[in-house]
């Protein structure tokens, strides 16, 4: 492999991981933008999305492609249960309370998964694990499909948010809840809708990343914190910021792992994020005048 090939290979690997971060972080930042809650359990929703897929394939003999939508729907239903039992009561509370409560939910879900599936890493059998080679660069179909899926989802979301009435309602609520209420928007419904959408995005990352990384109960912990950092770096509530942050972190980690040491990958990722925050404290895509 030439130096350029190695570089491109690492860049693409970073993009793959970054696209997974994007799904999880976009869900997280949307929820913050509307509900003003940092959901520390977002990583566990991702983890459960992966385990649901694993279980559907292994226990019910489903194909990978049938299991994905069902796992997402299960993630959505889980989001609804979480909203009705817990999240609803956190709206308007201070950040310390919301962080502690959602952290408790995160711990609960992780231990529940541990109880059901044990801590041995599992593999999601995906038919997309065959590799393709273009000009000395290797990628599995899994990685290619994943990046494309994320691009399509982001494009659809951008369309929905900018063009549809539901999107306008979401934007109205994120900008001014009082005004949204007095024009007749049911703000509580928008809260619920946004939260389950955020959970669905997190859950979808499970079956997409799962075949690349293995599936285990604590897999959501590190990634949940990373998503949280991406959201901060991108600017709280800022979706394009979360997308940019996801790509930056994914690539920084991958280049760090490739050129320095795989063991240092997390450190290098966080270092890049700290530097970004030092230069642009209000987030990657913040405008200077704000």
């Amino acid at each position: 492999m030439s130096g350029l090939q190695v570089f491109i290979q690492q860049l693409l690997n970073g993009l793959v991981i970054g696209s997974g971060y994007i799904l999880i972080a976009t869900g997280l930042t949307m929820v913050f933008g509307i509900l003003e809650i940092i959901n520390m359990a977002q990583g566990e929703i991702f983890m459960l999305g992966a385990f649901f897929t694993y279980a559907l394939i292994n226990a019910f003999g489903m194909s990978y492609f049938t299991a994905i939508p069902i796992a997402v729907v299960l993630g959505l239903l889980l989001g609804m249960v979480l909203y009705k039992t817990t999240i609803k009561r956190l709206i308007g509370k201070d950040h310390l309370t919301t962080l502690l409560v959602t952290f408790a939910v995160s711990t609960l879900l992780m231990n529940l998964a541990q109880l059901i599936w044990g801590s041995t890493p599992r593999n999601i059998p995906s038919p997309l694990q065959t590799a393709v080679e273009v000009g000395g660069i290797y990628l599995t179909w899994q990685k290619i499909v994943m990046v494309f899926a994320v691009v399509v989802i982001i494009a659809v979301m951008a369309l929905v948010i900018n063009k549809t009435m539901a999107g306008k309602m979401i934007r109205a609520c994120s900008e001014n809840k009082f005004a949204a209420g007095i024009v007749g928007i049911n703000v509580n419904k928008v809260y619920l809708g946004t939260f389950i959408l955020g959970c669905s995005l997190g859950a979808l990352a499970g079956p997409l990343l799962g075949p690349i990384t293995y599936v285990f109960p604590s897999m959501g912990q590190a990634i949940g914190i990373k998503a949280f950092v991406i959201v901060i770096v991108g600017g709280l509530g800022n979706i394009p910021g979360a997308i940019a942050g996801g790509v930056v972190l994914g690539i920084a980690e991958s280049l760090g792992a490739g050129y320095i040491s795989a063991e240092w990958k997390d450190l290098i990722g966080y270092l890049v994020l700290i530097i970004v925050l030092m230069i642009k404290p209000k987030g990657l895509l913040s405008k200077e005048e704000m």
Partner: protein
């Protein structure tokens, strides 16, 4: 149309409204005047369902609406043009109007187009700048957009909270003329104003609110000539 009985609203333990009685009939323009912090905005927000009263009742066309959430109140035909405009600044003027139409009973595209044309006729600047973000408008233009957004739902009762605040005298006149015209066309209006003279001149009847309580009520003209009102609110 709207009958408010013995209404009290608190912010925590702080009394904002106490035992307020208020009535407005179909087609009336009623002004509510009072000093800063007298509870005028609280009164409108309580009717709107943004604030929950501790006791008392609000009846709209003989139907109890006390404590219903804002989106249900809007459905019934009560709309607030809030203090400080409260527009969606990052959204376009057209999107703001579209959101105003959101709870209109007649959802047909024809009705939407018709209302939009009416708003553009009333405030031509809104058509000119329809694809611009609302925050790029001047204060007066924002007030026009706030009024237009309120009218898009075709309300039966329109409530204005300090519509003259921060506007130049020329613009204040435009806004007040608009309010008068809307009322002449049959819309029932509650007008909350610190500018008591202007509000009372316009109104059929008026209420004076002091530290959360209604202390006076009479026709607009009678209040303008009332010694107490003259001294406290008209600066005469």
């Amino acid at each position: 149309m709207l009958v408010v009985k013995d209404l009290s609203t608190y912010y925590g333990n702080v009394r904002a409204l106490e035992g307020v009685n208020f009535t407005i009939n179909d087609g009336e323009l009623v002004s509510l005047i009072g000093a800063n912090g007298a509870g005028k905005s609280t009164f409108l927000k309580t009717i709107m369902g943004v604030l929950k009263p501790v006791h008392g009742s609000i009846a709209y066309n003989n139907e109890e609406i006390t404590g219903l959430p804002p989106h249900v109140i809007v459905e019934k035909g009560i709309v607030l043009v809030p203090e400080g405009r409260e527009l969606f600044g990052e959204m376009t003027i057209l999107e703001n109007l579209e959101l105003g139409f959101f709870k209109n009973k007649n959802k047909e595209q024809g009705n939407y187009k018709k209302l939009l044309a009416q708003m553009y006729k009333l405030f031509p600047i809104l058509e000119e700048r329809k694809s611009k973000k609302a925050r790029t408008l001047s204060g007066g233009q924002q007030q026009m957009l706030a009024i237009a957004r309120g009218l898009m739902s075709e309300p039966k009762l329109l409530m204005f909270d300090e519509p003259s605040l921060g506007l130049s005298p020329v613009l204040i006149k435009t806004v007040m003329d608009t309010i008068k015209t809307l009322n002449n066309n049959g819309l029932t209006i509650i007008l909350v104003e610190q500018n008591a003279k202007m509000a009372l001149k316009l109104a059929h009847r008026g209420y004076v609110l002091e530290t959360g309580e209604i202390v006076l009520t009479a026709s607009g003209e009678a209040l303008l000539n009332n010694e107490q009102v003259k001294q406290a609110y008209l600066g005469i």
